[in-house]
């Protein structure tokens, strides 16, 4: 316990808090800034875990998180929304209050589930897993409630932040897996970026409601 535990707890809790901030933001540039903040917090959290577990390979994970998610992805996302001309658009979400209420339900759910399941584990890993599940569920919630494709991409990326948090909390995720996850996220990001431009070319918008007509289940 003690201060080391407290700092790990604060950083992991901060990730959940930033997830809530992302749900609250309805402007895309602000959303990207918040995502950057989450990536920086994540890398700090991973670096602290590396220090606690004396596992130097986790420092590499922290560097990857900081470099890819804290710098490359936000910068290219920002350039993307400027090129798409949607950086001033305000997104009409389902309703911030309702979404946040759902988010709280999800956090409560992940607390109850994780704390029951991992009753025997080390308290640090327990809390990390509970917070990581919250971040993952909140990322999923964001993907569900956003209509703008860029918002959904950011939801996906924040979901992956939760995965990394879970992986570092449970000691012993190999570095190979870590690096391949990071690269697959980067590749997913590139593919999604290409898709975004294709969708825009085709429908003149990145609002995914435009795709509903092509689902086939509508008469």
């Amino acid at each position: 316990m003690g201060l080391a535990f407290d700092i790990a707890h604060m950083l992991a809790g901060g990730l959940v808090l930033v997830s809530f901030m992302m749900i609250y933001q309805d402007r895309l540039p602000a959303l990207i800034n918040t995502f950057t903040l989450q990536a920086i917090l994540l890398s700090a959290s991973v670096a602290w875990q590396a220090n606690l577990q004396s596992a130097p390979e986790l420092y590499v994970t922290a560097m990857i998180a900081l470099l890819f998610k804290g710098m490359i992805i936000p910068i290219s996302l920002r350039r993307m929304i400027v090129r798409l001309g949607i950086h001033r658009e305000i997104e009409n979400v389902v309703g911030i209050g309702v979404t946040m209420l759902f988010g709280m339900g999800l956090v409560a759910l992940s607390m109850v589930v994780m704390l029951r399941v991992t009753a025997m584990a080390d308290p640090l890993a327990r809390e990390d897993l509970a917070f990581a599940l919250s971040v993952i569920l909140l990322g999923l919630l964001m993907m569900v409630t956003r209509r703008n494709a860029v918002g959904q991409v950011i939801g996906f990326m924040s979901l992956e932040n939760g995965l990394i948090l879970a992986a570092t909390g449970a000691k012993g995720m190999p570095l190979v897996v870590e690096i391949s996850v990071a690269f697959s996220v980067l590749i997913a990001f590139i593919v999604i970026g290409i898709f975004l431009f294709r969708i825009r070319e085709r429908f003149d918008t990145v609002d995914v409601r435009a795709l509903d007509r092509f689902r086939g289940d509508r008469r």
Partner: protein
């Protein structure tokens, strides 16, 4: 002997908050002006304003009822008593055992209730719109405040401010997510309650956006002076409350000696300085939001408070 000392500390606290409140308001204005590269009014300008208002004649509308005359005194008295209950530089105030955090919220709530009534008393449209907006903000800010209090009470096991501050000082708890959530929610509530910038602009008389100023538009002379002083006291109260709950270092202990009290006052001045500086910087870096966006802002504060209480409740370890 100890009763006399407690009484002296309490009296000093009441005089101190009353004297410092306009200074804090002036300081925030000065910080904002300097950051905007203006000279700004001198720090003692709020005192001069109050003095000028006290010397002026109080003009009262013809159809004003007795309530309109009584409200400034009621509002001022309730706010001053509430401010007297928050440990600013010393715990162990004489009155602090008679009322807890919930009583402070109740006092501020009744002050707001009377002010809203007075806004509607004359029957002008501005007063009415100000009162209705104030009621909308209050209906969200007060539950959020209660949630913050519940989180803190769950952690410290008490709603007494002195007991909470003593518990925080003992460092049994360490850094907790619940505390962080409670702090953010409390800051959001404080911004809304004091009509600061993202919610309301304290420096404007633009009809479409004003909330607090619209309610007090009909007041003049000594009545207005009391209401302005009460508003400054409320700002001071919230800054002191945040200082007492989250940075209680420097508070003089219950059985304090004279050096303890002097150190407590210095620490309190430092906290007020930091709070005023932070508020000024925050206010110039953000734009005022639309009135209909305020429920989302305060709803977020409510959610954060609720989340903090929930985390604490689901598992004792958070």
């Amino acid at each position: 002997m100890s009763a006399i000392r407690d009484l002296a500390v309490q009296g000093m606290q009441m005089a101190l908050v009353l004297l410092l409140a306009p200074l804090l308001t002036g300081f925030v204005r000065k910080v904002k002006a300097r950051l905007l590269r203006r000279q700004g009014p001198p720090l003692i300008q709020p005192y001069r304003d109050l003095l000028r208002l006290l010397h002026k004649e109080a003009v009262v509308a013809v159809n004003a009822s007795w309530l309109f005359r009584a409200v400034p005194y009621l509002v001022f008295a309730a706010t001053w008593v509430a401010a007297a209950l928050v440990p600013t530089f010393a715990t162990g105030l004489l009155f602090s055992w008679s009322a807890d955090l919930i009583a402070i919220v109740a006092l501020l709530g009744s002050a707001r209730f009377f002010l809203a009534l007075a806004g509607m008393d004359i029957g002008t449209s501005f007063g009415g719109i100000g009162s209705s907006r104030e009621a909308m903000i209050a209906s969200l800010a007060e539950p959020a405040m209660m949630m913050v209090i519940f989180s803190l009470a769950l952690i410290a096991g008490s709603t007494q401010l002195s007991a909470i501050a003593a518990y925080m000082l003992s460092l049994q708890e360490g850094l907790r997510v619940t505390l962080g959530l409670a702090l953010i929610a409390l800051v959001m509530v404080a911004i809304a309650e004091n009509a600061r910038i993202p919610v309301d602009n304290p420096a404007t008389h633009l009809e479409l956006t004003m909330v607090h100023e619209a309610m007090v538009l009909e007041y003049s002379g000594r009545h207005l002076a009391l209401i302005e002083l009460a508003a400054s006291l409320k700002l001071l109260l919230y800054v002191s409350l945040i200082g007492c709950l989250f940075v209680p270092w420097g508070l003089a202990p219950v059985e304090g000696t004279v050096p303890d009290y002097i150190f407590g006052i210095l620490a309190y001045a430092a906290k007020l300085f930091a709070g005023g500086l932070a508020l000024g910087i925050f206010e110039i870096s953000i734009a005022k939001m639309r009135v209909f966006r305020v429920p989302a802002f305060l709803g977020a504060a409510l959610m954060l408070g609720l989340l903090g209480a929930l985390l604490r409740f689901v598992s004792g370890s958070f």
